[in-house]
């Protein structure tokens, strides 16, 4: 039991971390009233930037490279998401359409530039990815330490910390109150003197930043290079986590952890004698079936922020 936990928990954590970051981005965006189906594209952008920056500056920055890389990817993700913001907030475009376009644009741009700069469809592997470590002090706690704090990526805990920060920001600060108000009833917010457009821009840009962060963490912990198949569906899983988690930062985190755990279990399960005879396909689809069952069984109905998806036009009811 202890052994199994010790192998499941750290793997679930590294699998979940990129999803947590990205899903938190989705929460900010959708809470402000802008649907973000473009999370996948934001992750692609983050992965691309994270890898390219890492490859370029590894010699200069040494051990700091992965950290600087994810910061840069965060910044570029934020800037990139402005495209979605301008289209869906200022130009009143359908937010779903704009998000789909973001996905295509990011992948097209990423691979196009890779080919332009590297002359081939995929980059080399980075020399400075993230590595796991034992978290000082915490890893020495008996039982809990080895399970949760040994051989883990610091970025996994960063993701969990960011989730709590996101919760604090959304539910305890005036910024969060305003952001949520704009997503529920923009006109009420407007008549209270809140700049709806500004808040929505911030929401979307935060999603870009966190999506970029998620993508770069994924690339630098798991894949180590960039190609058109670096991000294949993780953004959509993050979107699922947003909804699964009922648009709540901690809920989204929980959902992402659930996905990680389910994936990890399906791999570990293959080695458990009891399950050895179960055809592999059942283990493969188990995480997805479990998600559906969880939703149908006890998560149930979830209401999106009321105004999400609707462009705000001053004076319209």
């Amino acid at each position: 039991m202890f052994d199994i936990l010790q192998s499941i928990v750290p793997t679930a954590l590294f699998y979940s971390a990129p999803l947590i970051f990205t899903a938190l981005g989705g929460v900010f965006s959708e809470r402000s009233g802008v649907i973000n189906i473009g999370l996948e594209g934001l992750m692609v952008m983050g992965a691309f930037v994270g890898i390219v920056f890492n490859l370029t500056f590894a010699d200069v920055l040494g051990a700091w490279t992965p950290w600087v890389s994810i910061i840069v990817a965060t910044a570029v993700g934020a800037i990139f998401s402005i495209v979605h913001a301008v289209a869906s907030i200022s130009f009143r475009s359908d937010q779903t359409i704009s998000g789909v376009a973001i996905n295509m644009l990011a992948l097209g741009l990423g691979v196009y530039l890779t080919k332009l700069w590297y002359g081939k469809g995929q980059t080399d592997m980075v020399q400075q990815p993230f590595y796991t470590t034992d978290i000082p002090l915490l890893s020495e706690i008996p039982i809990i330490g080895p399970i949760f704090f040994q051989g883990v990526y610091v970025t996994s805990y960063l993701a969990i910390i960011v989730a709590f920060i996101a919760w604090y920001v959304l539910y305890k600060t005036s910024f969060g109150l305003r952001l949520r108000a704009v997503g529920e009833h923009p006109m009420a917010a407007d008549t209270n003197g809140i700049n709806v457009y500004k808040m929505r821009y911030i929401g979307v840009i935060l999603s870009g930043a966190l999506g970029g962060l998620g993508g770069s963490v994924f690339a630098l912990t798991i894949v180590s290079n960039f190609s058109h198949s670096t991000i294949v569906g993780q953004g959509f899983m993050a979107l699922a986590a947003v909804i699964f988690g009922k648009w709540h930062p901690l809920g989204a985190m929980g959902a992402a952890l659930f996905f990680g755990l389910a994936q990890s279990l399906s791999v570990v399960g293959a080695g458990v004698p009891l399950l050895a005879d179960v055809p592999q396909v059942y283990l493969l689809i188990a995480p997805y079936v479990l998600t559906i069952l969880a939703l149908a069984g006890f998560i149930g109905r979830a209401e999106a922020p009321k105004a999400s998806g609707i462009p705000y036009i001053k004076g319209n009811r």
Partner: protein, 512 residues
């Protein structure tokens, strides 16, 4: 310099329509100034201009004598102008406190909202003006009246000196209206100035000092309320004589159409709201249900029409049990329903008027055959009904969304009445409508009665109940507690009954 607000020669256009055409209104400090006009006359538009939601094409606004450019609600707030909108501007999942402080939150050093401080400030304001609220309740859990008090507190919290009320009483029960009137008076006592939009002339006579009238976007003039009367106001507003007392013959009720026995219905929170209700309605009579909001009226109607499941008891229509049938079966059995919330239930706002006209009949001949729609028939019908019911719309192809509330309501009434149901349920049918439209709708209800139909009228307007009904059933705590005749009662007595106190001589009745 005696005016706090002056709006001079304001003009505001929308694509294809001039909503405000050279309107002037001047507000004195400490007065309550009424703004009166038919539906679509341009009242809300004018006030939205003052509140910075719209920019006028022409004209100027002066605040305390100085010209100001009000470019946003924020600017209006800064100038001490607050507005209580017709459709509340409240964030439903938030608490009362959160809604009030939103945009101007007291903060702790950590950056978090200082909820305790906010609560204290709200308490002070609410004590001072008599605005009773529960600071920690969610908006979705409190009554409409309290929601309105939250709106008022929002403006006061922002230091408003001038308050605009857009049809504040349209959604309130008589009790709540009384409270509001007290609040308005206490506000003016504290030196606030108020602009009040309302369709209820009685209210204008009761609380207002002056009244500006607009008709079809044009300013007609301002009168001193003390020097006028409701009849004059109404004709100024409509441009013709208006009848107040609805003309009707005595009812000639015949056989039972609707019989409800021992009905129990739960609300969405799974609490019993209708608790053992008995009621019957006969053909050729209008039964009005009087009651304070939240005593189970909505749940009763939803149970009759099949929109909500009844827990127990029976509902019979012309001796046929229709309890818990599907809405379609019930409609087909002969029930028409003018719903309380016309935007939520009554219309598909993105459908054209024509498509809305066949909302319950689209699957029947001649509107469709073998499941294929016949748009020619549909629009023919719509043309006929918009003429008959005077629905003012550019065409039958116009989306319902683009119509004014009054015209939307007329379209719904046309649709429901035209199907000629044995039982017509009208819930708050005149809410928010101008006197002309109200008159029209009352006439239609009575016409139906005279054709031998049964009509169930639910309204918070005691005037309406007293004027239109042949029998009044008073609903309290999920039951009919009394049945009275309109000519044998008065507002005071009804008010007492609605509050749950028994009046000697009438006692408990079950309508049999």
């Amino acid at each position: 310099m005696e005016y706090v607000i002056e709006m001079l020669n304001i003009r505001k256009e929308f694509p294809g329509i001039v909503a405000n055409d050279d309107i002037t209104i001047q507000l004195r400090k400490g007065e309550i100034h009424a703004l009166l006009g038919e539906n679509g006359a341009g009242k809300s538009t004018l006030m939205n201009v003052l509140f910075g939601l719209y920019q006028p094409e022409k004209g100027e606004i002066r605040v305390n004598g100085t010209k100001k450019n009000i470019t946003s609600p924020n600017k209006a707030n800064e100038l001490g102008i607050g507005m209580v909108h017709q459709h509340f501007m409240l964030v439903e999942p938030f608490t009362v406190t959160q809604n009030i402080v939103l945009g101007k939150e007291p903060r702790k050093k950590t950056g978090a909202i200082d909820i305790n401080k906010a609560r204290k400030e709200i308490q002070e304001l609410s004590d001072r003006y008599g605005l009773r609220v529960d600071p920690d309740a969610k908006i979705s859990e409190i009554s409409v009246g309290m929601q309105q008090r939250v709106e008022i507190l929002k403006t006061l919290y922002r230091g408003a000196e001038v308050l605009i009320f857009d049809e504040p009483t349209a959604v309130l029960t008589p009790q709540e209206i009384k409270e509001l009137v007290e609040i308005l008076k206490s506000l003016t006592r504290e030196g606030k100035s108020i602009i009040l939009i309302t369709h209820k002339l009685k209210e204008i006579m009761e609380v207002c000092d002056t009244c500006t009238i607009i008709r079809k976007g044009k300013g007609i003039g301002t009168v001193n309320v003390a020097e006028t009367n409701p009849i004059e106001l109404a004709s100024l507003m409509v441009g013709r004589e208006v009848n107040f007392k609805t003309e009707k013959k005595a009812a000639e009720p015949k056989e039972n159409v609707l019989e409800i026995e021992n009905l129990y219905v739960k609300d969405s929170r799974k609490i019993d709201l209708v608790k053992g209700l008995d009621l019957n309605i006969r053909s050729g009579e209008i039964v009005g249900i009087a009651g304070v909001d939240g005593n189970g009226q909505s749940e009763l109607i939803e149970a009759i029409t099949g929109l909500r499941k009844a827990k127990s008891g029976s509902i019979k229509l012309k001796n046929k049990n229709i309890t818990n049938l599907s809405p379609r079966k019930i409609t087909e059995s002969g029930v028409g329903h003018i719903p309380e919330d016309r935007h939520r239930f009554g219309l598909v706002l993105d459908y054209s008027i024509g498509e809305n006209i066949v909302l319950q009949t689209y699957y029947k001949k001649p509107y469709s055959k073998v499941k294929i729609l016949n748009y020619k028939e549909i629009y023919n019908k719509a043309e006929q009904l918009i003429k008959e019911y005077d629905v003012r719309t550019p065409s039958v192809y116009t989306k319902a969304r683009a119509l004014s509330g009054g015209n939307q309501q007329k379209a719904i009434i046309g649709r429901e009445v035209d199907r000629s149901p044995d039982l017509l349920i009208a819930a708050q049918p005149t809410r928010g409508l101008d006197v002309g439209a109200i008159e029209f709708i009352h006439k239609k209800l009575i016409e139906e009665r005279d054709k031998g139909k049964a009509v169930l009228l639910v309204s918070f307007e005691l005037d309406e109940i007293l004027n239109v009904s042949d029998r009044i059933a008073v609903m309290f705590d999920g039951k009919i507690v009394a049945i009275v005749k309109p000519e044998e009662t008065n507002e005071q007595e009804l008010g007492m009954l609605m509050a749950g106190s028994k009046v000697s001589g009438i006692g408990e009745a079950n309508g049999k």
